[in-house]
């Protein structure tokens, strides 16, 4: 089947097998290997990307289902060499060790903040429940998400993916 998908700002038209998973299309066809596969039962969330502005586990979406959609991966978050505030917060708060869950964790955190711009600790923990990390015990991830919330402008939906103007990312942009 022929699909047209915009991934991280570039449009691709490809013939794909109907059964191909979005994550495999991203990794194998487009070389977007920043998005990874951690399980085969949709439990771990390592493959989380944004499909039209909302987080999805790309192992549970077929590539053909993304036809006509926009996909944002971890590789498409930084703008003009500047990290997204959530990426920056993960670094600043030592919210990663091996880093394998990190792309999915960051993508899910952004989605969580889009829904709830100022989550308390419990809200962050529940919002990340579908993303497993084996290294950090989650404490610094929770801290990072809450720190990012304080540096991002409030907003809903896909806007959360945009890097806010410099005045709104004090401490989040270019450290």
């Amino acid at each position: 089947m022929r699909i047209t998908v915009t991934v991280d700002g570039t449009t691709f038209t490809d013939d794909v097998e109907p059964r191909q998973l979005l994550v495999h299309y991203l990794r194998e066809r487009l070389g977007k290997v920043g998005t990874v596969v951690g399980c085969d039962t949709s439990n771990c969330g390592a493959c989380t990307v944004h499909l039209d502005g909302h987080s999805v586990k790309s192992c549970s979406v077929l590539a053909v289902q993304a036809d006509g959609s926009e996909v944002t991966t971890i590789e498409g978050l930084a703008r003009d060499g500047r990290l997204h505030p959530v990426q920056q917060a993960f670094h600043d708060n030592h919210a990663l060790q091996c880093g394998f869950c990190t792309p999915g964790m960051i993508m899910q955190s952004i989605d969580l903040l889009a829904d709830n711009p100022d989550p308390d600790e419990q809200a962050v923990r529940e919002g990340l429940e579908g993303n497993l990390c084996r290294c950090t015990g989650y404490q610094n991830i929770v801290r990072a998400v809450r720190a990012a919330a304080s540096t991002m402008s409030g907003g809903a939906g896909p806007e959360a993916e945009q890097v806010a103007p410099a005045s709104n990312v004090a401490g989040g942009g270019d450290r």
Partner: protein
Amino acid sequence: MTATVEPEIGRARLRKEDARLIAGRTRWTDNLTLPGLLHMAILRSPMAHARITAIDVTVARKMSGVLAVFTGADLADEQGSLPCAWPITEDMKSPSAPSVAVDRVNFAGEAVAVVVARSAYEAADALEAIDVDYDELPVVLDMEAAVAEGADLVHEDLGTNTSATWVFDSAEAGTGSDVEQAIAEAEVLIERTYRQQRLIPAFMEPRSVVVDPTGEQFTMWSATQVPHILRVMLAMTLSVPEHKVRVIAPDVGGGFGGKLQVTPEEVLTFLVARRMGKAVKYTETRSESILAAHHGRDQLQKLTLAARRDGTVTGLKVELLADMGAYLRLVSPGVPILGAFMFNAIYKFPAYRFVCTNVFTNKTPTDAYRGAGRPEATFAIERLMDELAAELGVDPIEVRERNWIRHEEFPFTTVAGLTYDSGNYEAATAKAKELFGYDALRAEQRERRERGDSVQLGIGTSTFTEMCGLAPSRVLGSLSYGAGGWEHAAIRMLPTGKVEVVTGSSPHGQGHETAWSQIVADQLGVPFEDVEVLHGDTQSSHKGMDTYGSRSLTVGAMAVVRAADKVKAKAAKVAAHMLEASEGDVEFEAGAFRVRGAGATAKSVSIQDVALAVFAAHDLPDGVEPNLDSEATFDPENFSYPHGTHLCAVEVDTETGRVDVRSYVAVDDVGKVVNPLIVEGQVHGGLAQGIAQALFEEAVHDESGTLLTGTFADYLVPSAADLPTFTTDRTETPATSNVLGVKGVGEAGTIASTPAVVNAVVDAVRHLGVSDIQMPCTPMRVWQAIRTGQTDAGGLGNEAGGGLGSIDSSGGAR
């Protein structure tokens, strides 16, 4: 550089590693692709024990994109036997361990055939078309039954299911007295049997391996903790010359001991790539990983503690059955033996005996998992100390205090024969009690008991130590381990004054690039940013023993420090020449050489100046080689003994059995700290894994040997919603066994936390007649224990998916 520059050691440096990882700019093995890369998939046995009577691959072989299908018979002549590097006794029974089964399978998940195809999808398709006929054999699952007279055998040719029995006895070793006498004379005897359930390491990156046979060397990329050991073992196992193999561990997504292995998958990928003459990749699915990658723990612990009425311990006898699974993997037999030296823990036992029997069953082989032998020991002794306190009616901390080594008694040689270099259990405990609000929580516990509250409060203590920093080579030799415990490092001074550090440690999340940069920045007086750390490639880092057993800092970084010393010694000769002084008059401080006593304003030459002068080599002293590069290999003289006091408060709903961790305080003493951020992260992650053993995780098999917990839906790795916020702090008693005063930290949190949590759970319901609940302490088990006194509800083979930590007490998912 000025003399007042802030030391790098002790700074909470943000990690160098992060920049790539947060941007998805990663080099996981599965990311790699090469021209003409072929994909391998593995057909695995659904049977735990069976004869293979026929394999038909004709249909699979003709499917689209399939280049080859190999069975065990095809590879039998070249696959050798997977290595076991730790024959713990001279008469240890060790079965031949094929990478792909030839005529029989011994655990469900064992490889029986491989497909090589153009794509991973096509390879997976072809697996479905392979037809295997099995003739079932009786399965051996229970360890006690396995060692009983007349038991069915896992390996008939061995004639027994006992692999080896290993004994330490303090009376025989001369490190203590006779435990049987202590037991005979005991005023109080605590006899318990505890079970260490089977666990799954569950690193987040599934294992992956790529082998490229097209160059002069075979190049293997693998998601491994041990690229150096892997290279040696491939050479020894497959009779391929060592210099014809290069192993690279690129970005590796966690290990926790689970990637301390020479795997069947690595060997098969190598063999297939060699056959095909083309690069081949194998990446496991998570289900395969859970099923076939080695498991951890799995012990039955029969324990006898002798004490006097005043609470003084007088003897400890430990009798273990340790489940090896179906084969002995790289260090399987030695894992429980690492615990032999730790059951006595921080306490002054005068008599001690340890007997471990390693047992074969038809299950996935076990091997190292975070803590490896020491969590088992710590769990047993810390549970026993709580039981002793309950028996005597005293506070659990008080009974520990009566028996622990006091800070002024270090160095202290234990009944197990180890010499602990330093520690201060009093200080860590005092700090933990204060942070925890121990007395107030005890008061609340009393109040709730009196009130008969349906939610009861329990308080658990764990005053642990552990031995890590593996390991002094002579000790490993005395334990019959197949290699040394040294580590290697090299420092290259580049002409522009930048520094390359080559380390034999092989990080997979620990942050070596950051920590090693801090150490070298201090040692050589160069900026943190000017240090590049190279690792995980046997071509650049040719010599190493890799990363496990909390050894990187206390062994690996010591090699780095020694190499830096040599760089400085070489540089001093050149600097003295440049300063027109004699070498003995020159001192090095904060990156510069000066004439001693000449003052801060005197002429100096920086180490970068020296590096450039050596590069030019125009004017060097006679006989001085134009080279500052240096290497060192460090062999530790002792283990590292981090310690700490962990306190856990849980609320147990006596009506539902649900356990909530209300607060968790961890005060760890890991000596001097290089990077407090990294240390805290290691503790957090360690706690999560230890708590998960206490409450959530268990690998369960059914009566036919099928793994019931074969996915992340069934094997409950905790999520953020399942874990509390930890309160972590430190005391700092420097190690005296190394120049930096540092101790290992990688496993401490895991080792300490499991008994703290279980002690808390039991403490919450002890007044209801409960003295034990088997791990994981699921709502079902806790409820059953309260109702019936049964401690193992949902035990072996009864119930998949123990924890359900994300389900709230009203029964709904959060």
